[in-house]
């Protein structure tokens, strides 16, 4: 059932609605009864079962670890297989009896034990020094378990493991290329399942994994150590913006697309924020292959423009917000080139103003579109930028004070404008 806090609020709201004549008095009891029957999310029984299984798992691991050295390899193998079969057998029994809490809990334990078995066998028999393939098999095993059990917890584990496999394959000392074609297949499969199970957590994990996948793919395509090149980061920010816009296009009919939009936007902004620290680097100069990077940035900006026009035509984005995104993306993409043209301080001021503008646009969009994620992103980026300006840009307190005074007055003026606009719209709607 819904939480008592929700029921209390609903009861108070119902009083107001009935008083205003929007809801019948007769409907009050039905509405409250319906709310009391609804699931508000994970219940205590399910949570306790999962936690209990987690502790059992730790108990088993600790016991085995304390006696591990004394066991021969075959005995270790036996312990692992018995544990695996016990977990899966209990899961099967719980499934037979329709005890779904225990299905999820022991299914999760079984999936975890499979991975533990792979790693411990690889270790005991010295099978491989570097074994991302083992993590991949683990992820696939967990995914299969999640599909059969229709279990969100196990699906989340599978998505975490796929992310771990991707990370190990990219960062590991032995470079691999399998992940470049296999990760999209795995991610799409997991994403499709997440949309069926309505698992936002899985989508979040996949979005974070994609953030790592994108730059490594470009590194593979261009054949360079891109992370060592500072010009790569503005290009990466533009790529994230483009992916966010594509995901935004699908947000009406694809579950979790908004989550992708949020993560891509966050990281695009993060890159934009940290680029400012490069402006201060006295020894930093543009690389020799500047023409190539200018061409890359321009192509990316054209892609972004195309996507923005597509969204405006589909009436998914208002032109002012699209313009804000375009200006912000262009500023981030070309900032390092502008540094040599404008000089450090003018660039910092211009960049800072644009960054503040993007943050405010996100805040407004979050308020008008009732999107909490944009509200948070806008608020945090605004605060971070304000702190940066305070500590970095102005070297004396008087100028800092003046900057904040102007900024504060500007925002108050904008809020008055917004208020008047809102009243005007309400009047027009009423008339």
């Amino acid at each position: 059932m819904r939480t008592p806090f929700y029921i209390k609020n609903l009861t108070a709201d119902l009083d107001t609605w009935i008083k205003n004549g929007w809801v019948n008095e007769a409907s009050r009891s039905k509405i409250i009864a319906h709310a009391q029957r609804q699931n508000s999310g994970p219940n205590a029984g399910g949570a306790l079962a999962i936690l209990g299984v987690v502790l059992l798992g730790f108990a088993a691991i600790s016991f085995v670890a304390s006696n591990w050295a004394g066991m021969d390899k075959l005995m270790r193998m036996g312990v692992l297989l018995v544990s695996l079969w016990t977990a899966y057998a209990v899961t099967a029994l719980a499934l037979w009896r329709n005890q779904m809490i225990y299905v999820h809990a022991f299914g999760l334990l079984g999936a975890a034990l499979f991975g533990a078995a792979i790693m411990l066998i690889a270790q005991s028999f010295n099978i491989q020094a570097h074994y991302p393939g083992g993590v991949l098999i683990w992820a696939i095993g967990a995914f299969a378990t999640a599909l059969i059990l229709r279990s969100n917890p196990v699906l989340i584990l599978a998505s975490l493991l796929s992310g771990l496999w991707l990370f190990m394959s990219i960062i590991g000392k032995i470079p691999d290329t399998t992940q470049y074609w296999l990760f999209p297949i795995l991610a799409l499969s997991l994403g499709f399942s997440a949309s069926k199970f309505k698992s936002s957590a899985t989508i979040n994990v996949l979005a974070i994994s994609t953030l790592l996948y994108i730059p490594s793919l470009f590194e593979q395509i261009l054949g360079l150590s891109l992370f060592k090149i500072s010009l790569f980061f503005p290009a990466l920010s533009a790529i994230y913006v483009a992916v966010a816009l594509i995901a935004f296009r699908g947000s009406k009919f694809i579950f979790g697309a908004n989550i992708f939009v949020s993560w891509m936007a966050i990281f695009a902004l993060l890159i934009g924020f940290f680029l400012q620290f490069v402006f201060n680097e006295a020894n930093w100069t543009l690389p020799e292959d500047i023409t190539k990077w200018l061409a890359i940035m321009t192509v990316l900006m054209l892609v972004i423009i195309g996507l923005l026009i597509w969204l405006i035509r589909g009436q998914l984005l208002k032109p002012p917000f699209a313009v804000a995104i375009l200006i912000g993306s262009a500023m981030i993409a070309y900032s390092l080139f502008l540094r040599s043209l404008l000089g450090e301080l003018p660039l910092q001021m211009l960049y800072g103003a644009v960054f503040f503008g993007i943050s405010i646009a996100l805040l407004i969009r979050g308020i008008t579109g009732h999107k909490k994620s944009l509200l948070w992103i806008g608020g945090i980026s605004f605060t971070a930028q304000a702190l940066y300006v305070y500590f970095e840009t102005f070297k004396d307190l008087l100028n800092t004070s003046l900057f904040f005074l102007v900024g504060g007055l500007l925002l108050l003026f904008l809020s008055l404008l917004a208020l008047r606009l809102s009243k005007q719209i309400t009047k027009e709607a009423q008339s």
């Binding site: 079984g110 020094a129 470079p175």
Partner: protein, 225 residues
Amino acid sequence: MKTRFFLILSLCTVLTGFLLWMVWDHEQARSKGTELILDMEPVDPRSLFRGYYVIIRTPLNRIDTEDVPEHPSFKAGDKIFVSLALSKEKHDQTTEQTEEIEPNTLETEAILQTEQNLKVPIDTPNSDEQNKEKWVITALSKQMPTDAAMFIQGRISRESQINDNGSTYWVKYNIESYFADQANAKILENKIRDSKMRIILSVDKQGKAVIRGLEIDGTRLIDRL
């Protein structure tokens, strides 16, 4: 529900099959491959162990191309086939022991210190100058060589330094760590530092290597199932 009941048990069977296959496949590679014994180089006495792993580094892990005639250029992630040939080298070390000791765990210190603990008595180490077989690199290639008596397959690591004047390739053969429990870890560390330990590999027809065991002070310690 019935269908899912049988499906989950079937899945467990498949997973178990995979785990058993892991062991069987590795055991096949260990027992059927050609043996290759390599010296082990000390890595860094202070950080030799990460947890209970011995870091294995052999002369084949770092390849200076100045020592190798005509070879293709490699980049990080490329497969590399390292062709090897035997060369005799006079060495002031103990003779290789002919008796194999097969402990359940690597209780090397106990075995080597007191003969009464041994399952099989061994000869006293011979300190006279003896010939010791050593493998040298004869060629590097991107494809499997057809004319080499022995070759091993690896991958170029990210740490490689590739430049116009010559390259140093760091190559990984996926044998760079060896699990040792806490009791044996320190013993093995000292053996590597004193150059008394060599790694015994089993190399299959494709050049893939797995660890068969260790040779310590001339005594072979083969990992058993």
